[in-house]
Amino acid sequence: MSQLEPFLAFSAEVTAFPIVELQGTGQAESYLQTVEDIVGTQRLDRLLVLYQSLPLATREDIRQARADRLRRDIFGSDELGPIARNIIKLWYSGTWYELPSAWTEAYGPAPQDVTFVVAPSSYVEGLLWTAIGAHPAGAKAPGYASWQWPPHIPPFAGDPAATPR
């Protein structure tokens, strides 16, 4: 079964971008494939199953409990934490970053684990450009003289300065 749906749900929570925006990059399938190819389907499945078992954040106190569990069980895990962080970096920069050597020593080998840009379009579609209200150099030209206007920084989930979406 495709892991795309839970992969997108996890990605949306950890990048603070809605799923519509993630799909809108056109990179979702290739990022999922990248992670599966490098760390293995089973390891990614474990991360996503763990993620799906987190308490649903319907109330403020549960929201905190959920955030704590996310931090402790996934980001705090020696095995899954570096993968989770790499997924965030993938979305933001379109680049897979080589995992820490401690990870490879403990859980390797991972022969394809080198730093690389997933595809020419993944650089262009990096969320970092949207997050800072800029555009990737050489692509998505914003129009002559647009630099004279302030950048549009999108509101994101949990941003105290932003109005709720």
């Binding site: 809605p18 799923i19 519509v20 925006e21 799909q23 809108g24 990059t25 056109g26 595809a119 020419p120 379009s121 262009v124 579609e125 998505k140 030209a141 914003p142 129009g143 002559y144 003289a145 647009s146 206007w149 549009h152």
Partner: protein, 371 residues
Amino acid sequence: MDSSDITTLEELKSYLYSAMQLEHATLPPYLVALYSIKPGTNLDATQIIRVVAVEEMLHLTFAANLLNAIGGEPDLTVPGFVPNFPTYLPDGEQEFLVHLAPFSRQTIENFLQIERPSLAPSGVNKLVARREHGPFLHLGTHPRQTTMRYYSIGDFYKAIEDGLVYLEGEAQKQGKTIFTGDAGRQITSQYYYSGGGHLHPVTDLATAVTAIRLVIEQGEGQTATIYDSQKELAHYYRFDQLIHGRYYRSGDAIEHPTGEPVSVDWDAAYPVKTDVKLADIPAGSELHQAAAAFNQAYARFLAEITEAYNGKPHKLMEAVAHMFEFRNAMTVLIRNPLPGSNGLYAGPTFEVSPEAAGAPQAGAESLEVVA
């Protein structure tokens, strides 16, 4: 006088409004096809469609300059200015529907129909009774006799050119001119850059005729040659290259391009649902919000363009920057699967209502009202 002739200034103004509507109406179909192409694929097709779309924007601006030159007031916010797709276009005796659809052979064939060069043969009436009377907008309809439409878009533009010449001739006989518009309302290259040709101000008959001929030559091709007087390929032949898989080069015969091969991958496009509407997208979903937000942004853009065309040409710069922003919003919609559609994708719906332009974010449902 033929009933297809323009004999008053007010008529000429309504024709030029229709011309703006017509030029604009080609943009949503071209842009949906363009942005449906998967990134990194179909580079030739991307370039071809993009260039044609940019030239349509130039034509829209020329139509606005023409209207301003004769004292008109271009208004892209009039309810119904943006068609509720699909929309009808004339093609000789037949009429056909133009759709919002993804890049495909069928879509490019639809674009060829839009740009097909054709003028009513001599002896055939330039005005034809409309056949279809569905709910959709008919472009090329006679502005006054709304049951009649022009045989072709080429004939429609020819009527405008003849009308300009006739009305200015009549005015000159009385020592007057029809070109009484404020020259400060003209959009010039100072405000409009890399837009598929040089944008000149329209201030007299000579500049008006040059403008209208550029629109005709780049667009409908009207003459039986592949290249126009600027040595550029007319739109029909640009698209034709995708069907033939080969570029035209100087000296080629019509339908027989012999230049470099054009590689086309018809499958490398997001299968956007044809003529997708907001109502097709689950209400309350993030996707629905994004589609409604796009329509609002598009309505605001039309209002900004209208402002630029009405004495504030410098506003065009800001509008163009917003255009690039909603280009990104279009690609986001096109790359999102449409729930419950058996594998089709969403897309911009271009359902623009006057309320949408100024409406706050809440009340997205009301945006479904189509002007």
